[in-house]
Amino acid sequence: MKHTAGAWRFRGVVLTMLALATPASAQVDLTGEWSVVRAEDNVGNTELGDWVGIPMTEASRLRSAAWDASIQTLPEWQCRPHGSAYISRGPSALKIWKEVDAVSRETTAWHLEWLRSVDRPVYMDGRRHPSPNAPYTWAGFSTGEWVGDMLRIRVTHLKEEYLKRDGVWHSDKIELTQYLIRRGDYLTFLVIAYDPVYLSEPLVRSTEYRLNLNQQIPPYPCTVVTEVDRPKGVVPHYLPGTNNDITWFSRRYGIPMEVVTAGAANMYPEIRSRIPRSLGGFGPEPAPPPAPPRGQRPAARAPMIQPPPQGEIEVLPVRGSIYVLFGAGANIVASVGNDGVLLVDSGQAAMTDKVLAALGEVQREWVRRNAPKGLGWGAETRSSVAHRHVTAPPKPIRYIVNTSAASDHVGGNEKLRNAGRTFTGGNVTGNIADAGEGAAILAHEQVLKRLATPPAGQTPAPFDAQPTDTYYTAYMKLSHFFNGEGVQLVHVPKAHSDGDSIVYFRGNDVIALGELMATERYPMFDVEKGGSINGIIDGLNGVLDLAIPEFRLEGGTMMVPGHGRIVDSGDVAYYRDMLTIIRDRVQDLIAKELTLDEVKAARPAADYDPEYGDAPEWTSDMFIEAVYKSLGGGKPLPRRRPR
């Protein structure tokens, strides 16, 4: 075929017209039911010890070696869905639909839902990813944009979950980039996973789907039951060196363990030099691979979500009238409403002005959201007009609850108390005339003792910073509803110290956890002040007994740890699991009569250290030492083994 210059000019004109006619953002239609194309990429359950093809860090391998599949029989595990980092790897059918703005007809969100997953909206409206302090979910938070005909999705705020179902984990620091590429009736789903905790390099995986006009993804009902009778608090796991199953994959296929455990190296062709020739490799070569450096971390990468500015207060709503103030030291939980303000903890003293300013903003926002209702009252009885002429001033702080006596929990007591005003009555300390002159401070009585009578040489807290109402029993209830709900302080014995409380907002179903949990570090506890690892674990198990998830083991009862982001029972269960596993390891080492230094050298928290062990105020070593002491480490055992 010959082509004249005129013909080419014509084509150039057509090309120009096409370029002008196309929209700024491509809009390939992805809607429909998609069946997975079964292939080597989506084999579902993997075999035990199948660690190949994943850039696992040393911490990841240690954690996988501890994984026992029977953990999935725990009530907190049974109804979990597959998370966004895994689901496309399993052979699950996919449904995609879109939300279209009724006026502009723009696609504002795509929705992706697989069998055994939850609906995942992918926002296309330009919104930003939430604060890192916001709740994390199985599906995560997703935003999308078109790159040519590819839909690119960024995913953050994912709970920790598995990358493979044989115990290969990702942390809640994971972020994903996903690409959806449609070619006729086929859809390619590419996932690039970044996890600074458990992946030393990005993990790149893909799956193919085919349009299926006859598919309807069925529901996936799930009921939590008691699958295994076991003592309360038991978390199934393998102690280091006891899991023989991790060699199963190696033994079955004849692949050397040094290849299986090579981490990122086994994604690349060079690994063949360590694979026997009988399996298609070029090895084995005599030199062993270099061991990954201890504490190996992946290369730095700018995260998709940014933390709020240092030194500023960030306020996030939890549910109803409950908010959290981040950035004042320990998290401050605030109940805001018609009755005034109840605070759980008061942060650091230096931050109280900013806390008060933030509370004022929250209250004004609350007033705006709860403006008087519209017309509707009886004409001959009352009118709502008067309410509309009044902008109510912020209500005072009525109560401050201290979950412990730690300085970043009580530092703002004095100033915040004096900025408030309590209700008269109750268990008033001191002169009855003082009762209305400041907010009441509630706490377990041990908090009062520590603040009022500190050890010799230390200054007592100012009188106005000390609790006004204390309890010494299992719990304390406010004697009336506050902001429309019951509020209960529950004592957690021997946890962070001997005077800890959690605070349960029973109407909003929110629990302030105090020092029971910190999402960015191990829980801090002071053995000298009556704290213990078992108390922390028991406290978390108690919280899990109280909490009821909304759906698929997420949401429902929301909780606010003393430090870190908002969590739910799924997050608390992971934290409980981790602490139980570390406790069991240290207990085992103590039983073997190891000294504290030997226990530290054994690194019983090595698989969790990349995520929790770096906090300067509470390092992994400090935590392990506290665990060791609280379990009686270093004390003579009843019967010593012969050396």
Partner: protein, 251 residues
């Protein structure tokens, strides 16, 4: 509209005249390449490691759309026999080569031909733009490949992108005239009438990594009961580090 635009652009770019180029004329496929596929790329073997990084046992056709005849032939796989017959490259044909662990070196052989070299098996694939007719001679391991740019219907240009750059675009490659080979290294076959459509696309991440995605659809009525559709990934390298030419091997 999308299909119309794509089809039209493909048609324009596939015409033989596009190869002429020159001042005042329509740019060549090389000049108007909307994405840059050139350079060194290393395969990333992840979920499918057990079937790609090692040679699976004979008869392991798990997850492959083999029909009864394909399974029967796969059961007869005899690497020694292949080697003796000078057929050591059966797993390195176009239908299987992109799945083998190794590196690619992609260059423009001419303004109208993109060349893909592999270090594993030392193979060369040529993707020809324009309306070249397939050769009438014997089929080859890499067959005869026709390439077209599948321009997206829209999409914002990436910030700082070159004038011709259109992220999200794919290179489509249609391959036929392949010598019968294996699409799994352990002797799972495709026949002489097999055809293959591939799409080559790239994605660039904020950490600076660029990935090459190769989606293939291998169709063969002789040995398959459905198309074999897979995507494999490569990571772009700065240079030829690790390039390790190795001859075909039957093991």
């Amino acid at each position: 509209m999308v299909a119309l635009a794509t089809a039209t652009v493909c048609w324009m770019l596939s015409a033989s005249g596009a190869a002429q180029g020159g001042p005042g004329q329509t740019p060549t496929p090389r000049a108007m390449a909307p994405i840059d596929l050139t350079g060194y790329w290393v395969s990333l073997i992840t979920d499918d490691w057990r079937w790609r990084m090692v040679t699976p046992p004979k008869g392991d056709a798990l997850y492959l759309p083999v029909n009864d005849e394909g399974r029967r032939v796969a059961e007869q796989w005899d690497p020694a026999k292949d080697e003796a017959a000078g057929e050591a490259c059966r797993a390195y044909g176009a239908g299987g080569i992109m799945h083998l662990p190794g590196r690619l070196h992609i260059t423009w052989e001419s303004d109208t031909t993109l060349k893909v070299e592999t270090d594993t098996g030392q193979q060369t694939r040529l993707f020809r733009f324009g309306g070249s007719q397939p050769p009438s001679g014997e089929a080859t391991w890499q067959g005869f490949s026709v390439a077209t740019w599948e321009l997206s219907a829209g999409g914002r240009r990436g910030r700082g992108a070159a004038p011709a750059s259109r992220p999200g675009t794919s290179l489509r490659v249609d391959t036929s005239h392949m010598r019968p080979g294996y699409y799994r290294r352990n002797g799972v076959p495709y026949g002489s009438k097999a055809t293959m459509t591939e799409w080559f696309a790239t994605v660039t991440e904020p950490d600076g990594n660029t990935y090459l995605l190769v989606t293939k659809m291998l169709e063969d009525l002789q040995y398959m009961n459905a198309p074999y559709v897979r995507t494999v990934q490569f990571k772009k390298q700065n240079d030829g580090t690790g390039w390790n030419p190795m001859p075909c091997s039957t093991r």
